[in-house]
């Protein structure tokens, strides 16, 4: 007998998924004005989980009006009173975290180990953190009495549905704004459960409105004249479209877009931990991470050793049922995303890079992609330049620290970077030269509500998280 782990699925009985969901406007759920709906599926099984209302222009208008009406009362509340609501929401998230984690895993496809151990703790932490700021805004460094902006619009992606909601909603509400939030088309369910949590917390109607829908809903929301500020996380392409839409208006915008992060491994690195960091950097959340370490730059003198260890480690990754507590890599979020990953991986092969993946059995239904790495990649390959947003790592080499910096910075993006070296002076030398909003040293993909997050160049502008994250929601 071998030590094969028997299935250890988390029970989905904890979460009760209603067969249909309305839009959350003015504190109540209601059908879309034109009564259209769309279906949301589990990417691991293609099972339809629920029907969700598809918000149109009239619904956007109703939601923005509700947010406008609520703004006067909400912004006039003392900060300590707003904080009470946010603390209450944070505690309810903790109390219901298993339910939320299972629902997130069902709708998104990410492993329960990650939704349970990473997403949900961070979501709660984000609400706790910004709840703490609500009555201390005059000490945040933005003037003696910073004012909220007004009605804000949040448009968020499908990779961390609830965490991205928290990144938008917590600072917006703490600073006294109201919000209309549009979750991603493929992952609306946890946002709708969050709406029920807001009801449970007795958040005043209209302070947060949640509109489900597709790209057209998002576009209508962003373009609505009643919106004072747009906060978007998603693709660079859509980010550019939003910037064009709001150009010429007095709307404020923060954009957190794509990335093609360089992950630098030097010859003096702690190699075993560097290999873990590489794995965490690109295979965490199936690589559906804007700051994923998708471009591995390894010093040529240790490249063979690192690659051998990396391949051995990748062979132990467990791909499969996201609800199984032992799964490391879950399902790709949608058929559309799977097609995009597949196409880019094929382009990598066609351009002459060498493709490698461990032998792993993929489930027959649902959307799956084996963890993959490409060697022999150069800066000229598409897989070294374009964001793949999947479990695909491109491996390049460098010879000197200077060359490492040049290659790392040679990208239109600039969201994150990682450095592995045991030499402190080198970390500091690199950190001041890498053009990236986040530089991780001897770790990767670590998040904390106190730490600002955001990009350079085509990775967007504005910062979320920390004290810096308050600025976008204050009239300063």
């Amino acid at each position: 007998m071998t030590f094969d782990y028997a299935p250890a699925p988390e029970s989905r009985a904890i979460v009760d998924i209603p067969p249909s969901h309305g839009l959350f406007i003015d504190g109540r759920f209601r059908a879309a004005a034109d009564e259209t709906v769309f279906k949301t599926v589990s990417p691991a099984s293609e099972e339809v989980l629920s029907e969700v209302a598809n918000a149109g222009a009239d619904d956007v208008d109703a939601a923005v009006r509700s947010a406008r009406e609520a703004f006067a009362g909400w912004s006039a509340l003392p900060g300590a009173e707003r904080a009470k609501y946010l603390f209450r929401i944070a505690r309810l998230i903790q109390e219901r975290s298993r339910e939320l984690a299972v629902l997130e895993t069902l709708d998104n496809g990410k492993p329960i180990r990650e939704s349970r151990d990473v997403d949900l703790p961070l979501v709660a932490a984000h609400f706790f953190y910004y709840a703490g700021w609500a009555d201390k805004l005059e000490h945040a460094g933005f003037g003696p009495a910073p004012r909220p902006v007004g009605v804000t619009a949040g448009v968020i992606p499908w990779n961390f549905p609830l965490l991205m909601l928290a990144w938008k909603v917590a600072p917006a509400l703490a600073t006294g704004n109201t919000m209309v939030l549009k979750p991603a088309e493929t992952t609306p369910l946890t946002a709708l459960l969050f709406a029920r949590i807001c009801q449970q917390a007795e958040l005043p109607p209209g302070v947060l409105n949640i509109l489900t829908g597709d790209g057209a809903t998002g576009a209508a929301l962003v373009a609505h004249p009643g919106v004072d500020k747009v906060a978007f996380t998603g693709s660079t392409e859509v980010g550019k479209a939003i910037a064009r839409t709001v150009a010429g208006s007095d709307k404020r915008v923060t954009l957190e877009l794509g990335g093609k992060a360089a992950h630098l491994v030097f010859e003096d690195a702690a190699l075993d931990q560097a290999v873990e960091g590489i794995v965490q950097g690109i295979f965490f959340n199936q690589g559906h991470v804007c700051c994923a370490g998708s471009r591995l730059l390894v010093q040529e003198s240790v490249a063979d050793e690192v690659l051998a260890a990396l391949k051995a480690r990748m062979s132990t990754l467990r791909v499969g049922d996201p609800l199984d507590k032992n799964t490391d890599i879950g399902a790709i979020n949608s058929a559309e995303q799977l097609a995009r990953i597949t196409a880019l991986a094929e382009a990598g092969e066609a351009e002459g890079a060498e493709r490698w993946a461990p032998s792993c059995e993929l489930p027959s239904t649902g959307y799956w992609f084996a963890p993959t790495l490409f060697t022999g990649v150069t800066q000229a390959h598409r897989i070294a330049r374009e964001e793949i947003f999947g479990p695909v790592l491109s491996v390049l080499t460098f010879r000197t620290p200077q060359e490492a910096v040049e290659k790392a910075n040679n990208t239109p993006y600039g969201l994150s970077a990682g450095i592995w070296t045991e030499k402190g002076s080198r970390s500091l030398w690199l950190a001041s030269r890498l053009r990236a909003g986040i530089v991780w040293s001897n770790t990767f993909n670590k998040f904390d509500p106190t730490s600002p997050f955001g990009g350079y160049q085509e990775s967007g502008y504005g910062r979320e998280g920390g004290r810096h994250g308050l600025e976008a929601y204050l009239d300063v």
Partner: protein
């Protein structure tokens, strides 16, 4: 002689450095350069990897397999000033048949005692296939003249020990006298002769840093250790998931470099079945399935066995029994 000890003597024929690395022990300077040239260890990364593997969920058939495997890997230990022949005999009886209500329960790998009680254990274990392990070399501090340590080892071997658990000279290691530590292990290896299998205790709690633990692991393996062992169980920090994971990486890398496979023994502080299963996950996903046998992985423990037995009974009967349904020895 037990079957384990006989496999041990064929596995490590000569107490010399592995050929691929022979020159690194040529001088103190060469050894220092080699040990300091090993990749560093990032403590945060190591501990988070160990913690992540600790979240594996081991259920049903896998759990049954892992509980039995863990029982069969135990070096059931008593190392007290108050040890008596009666206590050792009781422990040996427990080792043979850990669960008197279920004769299918595997026996433990070895009984581990001080060297003056080896003969008692030898007699009590006759015909059982269970090895007698003896601590030696002025255990646990190791603060004695080398002649004393070698005499201690020789007595244990003469009394019939199949396995010798020695301690390294941490003072010499921390003072940077690596060659002295190496030579002492070689000398003890020689004193063990063909008969006894050598486990080298690094005493991780006193080495204090992960970099030191990695260096000491390689030092012991170069000197001919059959096993590297985390600790004596007599200091504040003993086996932890992280330091055991690090030693599993060391044996994995050593086999890749030299072709020689070395065993790992975490000892001290592993008290629950749940913890033991986490260690088996570390073995499985770090060194690999080749190490999942009592030949290559041991637990140095005393109270762990009863918790494994209670979990085993629970799995068999569907209900928890309680501490009165396992024996106290």
């Amino acid at each position: 002689m037990s079957s384990l000890a006989s496999t041990a003597s064929t596995a490590s024929p000569a107490p010399t450095a592995a050929p691929a690395l022979a020159d690194v022990t040529a001088s103190d300077a060469a050894l220092r350069r080699f040990l300091h040239g090993l990749p560093g260890v990032d403590a945060v990364g190591l501990e988070s990897r160990a913690a992540a593997l600790g979240t594996r969920s081991i259920k049903t058939t896998t759990k049954a397999y892992a509980l039995d495997l863990a029982i069969s890997m135990i070096d059931l230990t008593t190392l007290e000033g108050a040890d008596t022949p009666g206590k050792v005999r009781a422990l040996c009886a427990k080792g043979r048949h850990p669960d008197p209500t279920d004769r299918e329960t595997p026996s433990v790998a070895a009984i581990c005692v001080y060297s003056d009680l080896v003969a008692v254990a030898r007699e009590a274990l006759a015909g059982s296939g269970i090895a007698v392990a003896s601590v030696a070399t002025a255990f646990p501090a190791g603060r004695a003249a080398r002649s004393v340590k070698l005499a201690d080892t020789a007595e244990a071997v003469a009394a019939g020990a199949d396995e010798v658990d020695m301690v390294i000279d941490r003072g010499a290691f921390l003072a940077g006298r690596y060659l002295s530590v190496y030579e002492e292990i070689l000398a003890v290896r020689e004193a063990c002769g063909e008969q006894a299998h050598l486990k080298v205790i690094l005493e991780n709690g006193e080495l204090a840093t992960y970099d030191n633990i990695r260096r000491a692991s390689w030092l012991a393996m170069l000197a001919g250790a059959d096993f590297i062992k985390t600790s004596t169980g007599k200091v504040g920090v003993n086996a932890t998931p992280a330091n055991t994971l690090l030693m599993l990486q060391a044996v994995r890398d050593f086999r890749a470099a030299t072709g020689r496979q070395i065993g790992v023994k975490p000892a001290g502080g592993i008290r629950t079945a749940k913890d033991a299963l986490k260690f088996l996950v570390l073995v499985n996903e770090t060194a690999g399935p080749d190490w999942l046998s009592p030949r290559w992985f041991r637990f140095g423990a005393s109270s762990l066995l009863n918790d494994l037995l209670m979990q085993r009974q629970k799995l068999g009967t569907g209900r928890y029994s309680g501490p009165d349904y396992v024996t106290v020895d």
